[in-house]
């Protein structure tokens, strides 16, 4: 690896229990006051729900009743981070809740208008920020449960290093919701007395909410740097859906990867902000991991969740801000909530705040699915190098960006079955539109492995297993990246239905565990025994495009391969409410596709390259189509929004004849991950030299196809052979 490229933190913002800005958080860390409260943001309907939560208290009159709480919390923290600086040109948000709190109320009230659910998608949080700050470039959403915000920082860093952005707003946001509050309660992970991380008498976590955001850039003349983000590390336990590996091996791997990315030895770290949720299992596993990495030379360390609670996807963002305050002000916070140290942990958390000069800090975030993410911050040089690397921000279609990748294997699932069956149907002029038949994915994994899994994880496992076994590959992929707009809907629906039916007393722990967006990717890691970075992107119709981008960034960062999979699973009640495209289309459909991608080499086969995501599809296309001749363009817009295609069509018509501009969702199926299936068809088409999706089929003399998706933002990628 070459010398790590430093990324500067030029803005920070935070909202969490006890603090509505960075100054308040700093005062709380120095002199913690107050603890947790029974939540008031939703009704607690049964005595079993009278458990403390870490709720944000907004000043009177500053809440936004028309906006889901996660969106508003995200905005409040992001606004602080961008204040006084130029606007960011890209956003990466980690979130698990999106608009769920609003959805819960609407579902319980029996509202059936899709309008009431327009903010449900996780992506709508990032789109809200993009609107607020006029962001033109990529707007990404990642959902890896409680490590989401730290994973977002990792992706943002890779975007900057790849020259795909100059200034990225990155972090995480989540709000208290009945789904998460009762879900963790049913898992018996919520502490009745409030969390006591690292305590001998700890019994669990305190579910919280909030948001934490950073502005990251390669250099700036506009604002002084607060810190340097010098490394990130991702890993997956591949051990269990919810429990950490008891030896903390995945956590230790993520810490070591972050240190290696930063080019630092463990001894350079002056403070560790622990994940430290207060559950017996997490704290024990994390303590083992810390001891493995730091051996006898433990730096000062603490969990700050005794103050903030566990803000889930926001936790890594809030704790990044705390870590930066430790560097900037020398304030190392106490392990709040700790009374009687658990001596078996063999850790020495700070009992009181400590003042010390430190030059590097490490922050840990771990989540369901065994998703681990760590980040290293270092003290900023003063003055920072002038405009360091700003020229690295190059146009998406220029010579920078992410490299073309070879498709080592592809799979798809449609109403016709797999890729061979779908291709044959298209050649025969038959439609593959519809729901995937159960028989097409029944044999993905042993019955005992999938017994608790519903439709989405089974679809994704089948797709992943197909591409992994295609070349007789025996080693796990170098990264697993999933894309899904809606996540596991059957699990979400059943969890909420049982909760509502019992007056918020009972629901299924199994459904809660299965309902998180990254559960399917975690199952793939389990099945393949893969400890590599494990990401789940969730951005409506752009979910596959973002999964492809993140897979490409992992390969650009050294991974030898990436398994990229995107899929949707139709759910009769929720799918029509969440996805207006489904209601507008004649035939219900679901399914998706998977690709095993490797760095480009001389081997034969199709190539896949992510070219860009932007607010304005025309600007993106202008840069691309003038440089490269394409045989045909595959075009997608959500059903009912085909009018948005017209300006794109007329622009494309300058270089591509009309019969070679092929809208595909009505011919392949209207679901949010249909772009993945279209890409699998495109890969087969460039190899065969014919595109049967066009009517009549067109020949592909140049063997080069452009795929364009139009929606709230536009995504462009290409397939060629």
């Amino acid at each position: 690896m070459s010398q790590p490229v430093p990324v500067f933190v030029t803005g920070i913002g935070v909202v969490c229990a006890g603090a509505n800005d960075v100054g308040e958080l700093r005062r709380q860390l120095a002199h913690p006051v107050g603890r947790f409260q029974i939540p008031t943001v939703f009704p607690v309907k049964h005595p079993s729900g009278e458990l403390p939560a870490a709720q944000v208290v907004l000043p009177a009159g500053t809440d936004k009743p028309d906006l889901p709480r996660t969106h508003h919390l995200a905005f409040l923290a992001a606004r602080q981070a961008v204040a006084g600086g130029p606007p960011p040109d890209a956003i990466v948000v980690g979130t698990t809740t999106g608009g769920i709190a609003t959805t819960e109320a609407a579902l319980e009230a029996g509202i059936v208008s899709p309008e009431a659910y327009r903010h449900h998608g996780l992506d709508t949080v990032a789109l809200h920020l993009a609107d607020a700050f006029a962001v033109r470039g990529p707007v990404l959403t990642v959902s890896t449960a409680c490590s989401s915000a730290t994973v977002a920082l990792s992706i943002a860093t890779k975007l900057l290093r790849a020259g795909l952005a100059k200034r990225v707003l990155a972090g995480g946001a989540d709000c208290l919701s009945r789904l998460t509050f009762h879900g963790f309660r049913q898992l018996q992970l919520v502490a009745p007395e409030g969390c006591m991380p690292m305590d001998a008498n700890r019994t669990g976590m305190t579910v919280g909410e909030g948001a934490g955001f950073l502005v990251l850039e390669l250099g700036s003349d506009e604002r002084p740097a607060l810190a340097v983000l010098s490394g990130t590390g991702l890993s997956c336990d591949a051990h269990h859906a919810t429990r950490p590996h008891p030896e903390g091996t995945g956590a230790a791997l993520a810490m070591r990867r972050a240190l290696a990315d930063a080019g630092l030895e463990p001894a350079a770290i002056g403070y560790v902000n622990l994940h430290g949720t207060g559950t017996p299992d997490n704290d024990a596993a994390e303590a083992r991991a810390v001891r493995q990495v730091f051996a006898e030379a433990q730096p000062p360390l603490s969990s700050t969740k005794g103050l903030t609670g566990h803000a889930l996807a926001a936790a890594g963002g809030i704790e990044a801000v705390i870590s930066i305050l430790a560097l900037r002000d020398g304030l190392l916070p106490a392990n709040i909530g700790l009374t009687t140290l658990d001596e078996t942990l063999d850790l020495s958390p700070l009992r009181v705040p400590m003042t010390a000069h430190v030059s590097a800090v490490l922050s840990n975030s771990f989540g369901f699915g065994g998703n681990n993410a760590c980040v290293v911050f270092e003290k900023a040089p003063s003055p920072i190098p002038p405009a360091h690397g700003v020229e690295r921000g190059r146009s998406p279609a220029g010579d920078a960006g992410v490299p073309a990748l070879r498709i080592a294997a592809a799979a798809c699932l449609t109403a016709r079955g797999g890729l061979d069956e779908t291709w044959a149907a298209l050649l025969a002029g038959e439609s593959p539109v519809g729901l995937v038949p159960d028989t097409a994915f029944a044999k993905a994994a042993p019955a005992a492995f999938v017994r608790r899994l519903r439709r989405l994880p089974r679809l994704m496992l089948a797709l992943a297993q197909t591409v992994q076994s295609a070349n007789g590959r025996t080693v796990p992929p170098g990264a697993i990246v999933a894309g899904t707009a809606w996540g596991p809907l059957a699990e979400t629906q059943d969890f909420l239905r049982k909760l509502f039916e019992s007056g918020d007393q009972f629901s299924s722990p199994m459904d809660f565990v299965g309902s998180v967006h990254n559960a399917p990717a975690g199952q793939i890691a389990l099945l393949l025994g893969c400890q590599a970075p494990n990401l789940t992107c969730s951005a409506g119709q752009r979910s596959f495009g973002q999964a492809l981008l993140c897979g490409s960034l992992e390969i650009a960062s050294g991974a030898d391969s990436a398994l990229v999979v995107a899929a949707e699973a139709f759910e009769p009640k929720l799918s029509p409410l969440f996805e207006p495209a489904l209601a507008a289309s004649r035939l219900l459909s679901d399914g998706g596709a998977a690709f095993l991608l490797v760095p480009d080499d001389n081997a034969p086969g199709a190539r896949l390259r992510w070219l860009g995501e932007a607010a304005d599809g025309l600007v993106l296309l202008d840069r691309i189509i003038e440089n490269t001749p394409y045989d045909a363009v595959m075009l997608a817009a959500p059903a009912g929004q085909e009018a948005k295609l017209e300006p794109i069509r007329s622009r494309l018509a300058r270089t591509v004849s009309p019969e070679r501009i092929v809208p595909y969702p009505d011919r392949l199926g209207q679901h949010a991950s249909i772009a993945a299936a279209a890409t699998a068809i495109a890969a087969r088409a460039v190899a065969a030299g014919v595109l049967p999706l066009a009517a009549p089929p067109v020949s592909l003399a140049r063997r080069r196809l452009l795929l364009v998706e139009i929606g709230p933002r536009s995504t462009v990628f290409e397939v060629f052979a």
């Binding site: 049913q186 898992l187 018996q188 269990h240 859906a241 919810t242 429990r243 019955a447 005992a448 017994r451 608790r452 019992s502 007393q505 009972f506 629901s507 299924s508 722990p509 199994m510 565990v513």
Partner: protein, 91 residues
């Protein structure tokens, strides 16, 4: 006593197989065999699913480790645990 002769054990066995998606015939489950580590492949999430099911269907809480060890020793032990603690049945 076998599953066939104790109706509560038979009922619990059916619920267990159904709730956990176990691929086996309820008739073949030995009521005296340990629930965990006896080849059923049951893990911590399954146990929590059973905890909720038993509180919901029988009004019996299993909310600490000792109670869990006692209740989940076997299906027979679970039936005995429920009989000892269930509120006066309206049936």
């Amino acid at each position: 006593m076998t599953a066939q002769t104790d109706p509560l054990v038979a009922e619990l066995t059916r619920k267990l197989v159904d709730a956990l998606g176990l691929d086996l015939d309820p008739e073949t489950v030995d009521p005296a065999a340990p629930l965990v580590g006896a080849g059923l492949g049951i893990d911590s999430i399954d146990m929590l699913e059973l905890v909720v099911l038993i509180e919901k269907d029988y009004g019996v809480k299993i909310d600490n480790r000792a109670a869990g060890v006692e209740a989940f020793a076997s299906l027979g032990a679970l039936a005995a645990f429920i009989r000892q603690r269930r509120p006066a049945s309206p049936a």
